[in-house]
Amino acid sequence: MNSFITGTLFFVQFYGKSSDFAGRSRGIFMRHLSVLWLFIACILLLPVPGHAADDGYGYPIAGSYEASIIGTPARLMPEFPGYVRSKQLVLHIFPDRRIPPIFFYDDGLHCTVAYQKQKAPLVFLIGGTGASDRTPKLLTMMKAFYQAGFHVITLPSPSTSNFIVSASKSGVPGDLIDDSADLYRAMEAAWNQVKGDIEVTSFYLCGYSLGATQAAFVAKLDDDRRLFNFRKVLMINPTVSLYNSVTRIENMLKEIPGGPKKQGVFFNRMLSKFSQFYHYGNYVTVNENFLYSIYVEKLFSHDETAGLIGLSYRIGLGGMVFSSDVVTNSGYVVPKNRVLSPNDSIFDYFLVSTHLSFFDYFNEYLYPYFHKQRPWLTKQEYIASLGLRSIEGYLKSSDKFGVMTNENDFILTKTELDYLRQLFGERTKVYPRGGHLGNLEYSENLAYMVAFFK
């Protein structure tokens, strides 16, 4: 699992978006952090500039990797209301659970709710791998739905440490059935917390990337439990098979010299390339102009770019592995029975965890855990259960599902894309470009999402 994180997606959530900071970084207080995200965006920038094809679709970035990393330029996003009535919920899903001291800041599952004053439909939004409830992409979607008159609740991905610590029953993320049951429980708790304050006409569900695939499983669960009776479910850039998608991302690391085991060497080499570029160019600051020139000057080769995407995915995966190991006390990367204090250095665990591949995690941790729960399941069967094909009968039988994805989304093969088209028919919307999630915040895409639920 944990596939689809690219550096930007991941790090932007630390530092917010450029538009928030344009020309405003001043002050004595922590101002440096404000533009730091640009740095990683720069590192990951791609070599080939794109040209908008003349096909009536205005999203400009042609390359799949580029689009995934750069996302949507601020000027191509819609205008949103300045003020959104919203608050953060802190849910105590397992009130008796003891939180490991290293996660002292985890006071419960964080969800964000935006609410209308009047009676309105409610949309639940599930982010992709590593997405917290306040990830910029989710917040953009939240604003779009809010503007269109919906209540919105955003949920963190089951792959985040917040979710693993506070809302995962097993503490072992990666299983679609279990993760979706955890999500459903969290949605129920969120709903219980707000239902006294807002009036809801009907429920909708939407997720992107891994969250899209989870949304399908959540909807299936709801068909039995009938708590929400989702009227429509939109899956944005879903993965058809988790295992296949992650394999493709893992392969991106294979092209670096020495392979993935030498990712540190690779990282440092890319970093010095980046620094030299900065110094020789006499740039004054790490800002949009600098970013643009990296893009134009093709600083990184195609393989290097792929390697950087793969590496940033590993950095995300490492966080998930470490969090799960601490919560379950499995002795995978942290010694079993060791209690880490908030002030202990955990840098070695960072290095160890990020050097593990998804296959390591799958073969040594995830599959053995579920094999114990479901001993009859072979590895092949288990892999097959981690995807949409395992519930295709259900997906076919219902017309509430829709899919929005891109022709050049690198987590899907041509066969998988055709499969989606065949499964969902005319409810499949495939844009000509956008890579993986690159066009999610583009105004036309946001308008399609809202229209799908209207």
Binding site: F39, V284, V352
Partner: protein
Amino acid sequence: MTTVSRCRIILALMLSLSFAGCASTRVNTQPEVPPMHSISEVRDQSFADVADPWEGFNRRMYRFNFYFDKYFFLPVVNGYEFITPTFLQDRISSFYNNIGEVKNLTNSLFQLKGKESAKTLGRFLTNSTVGLGGLFDPATKFGLERHDEDFGKTLGYWGVGSGPYLVLPIFGPSSLRDGGGLAVDTGISYGIYTGIDPFGRLDDTYLYDYGIMTLDEIDARHQQSFRYYESGYPFEYYMVRFFYHEKRELESATPLPEK
């Protein structure tokens, strides 16, 4: 009470708060078992690493800042955002950003950057006049780009290394060099506040001075959307450390002569 003693009390309070509860629940009755994967099997260069000999202290400060934000700073900022119309918030931000130009100017002069100093001076004069005392920022529209400078960068420019990573209480990620630079810049801006003394003719001068400085800090936090531990990533401390360090390394280095 003098400012110094006031600061001391606040600092003592911070330290006691941040260390309280640190001697937390390290109760471990069962023997440790080595993990399946350990650092000994990693045969690779370390990466995203930064010199951090005071990590224990820094992690405590990082944690203190999280609590300080949560229980004090952010509630104050939220209250400010709630009672102040957005238009007014933006004017206030603009006003303080303009005052910050003085720090940018002094430091770009310290670095003998003629062209940049002229631009910054131009910005300051334009925004102070046409921009109605800094309430608006027409200079950017006229093509005068902002150049953020500070004394940490000045020191870096003249060859002073960053020194160990340092997380400052309230101010957040820094380094030994940048922390010192911050003190110098704060001194300069304090001098400016008292030097300009816009309320000098009034009796309660110091009240206004404090008010202006407090609002400055509130506005600065208002402009900064970073939240401690919000990423949902357990190695956030290291990511923040790395990005801070790299950005400063890039921006404070002596630029190479033009080719």
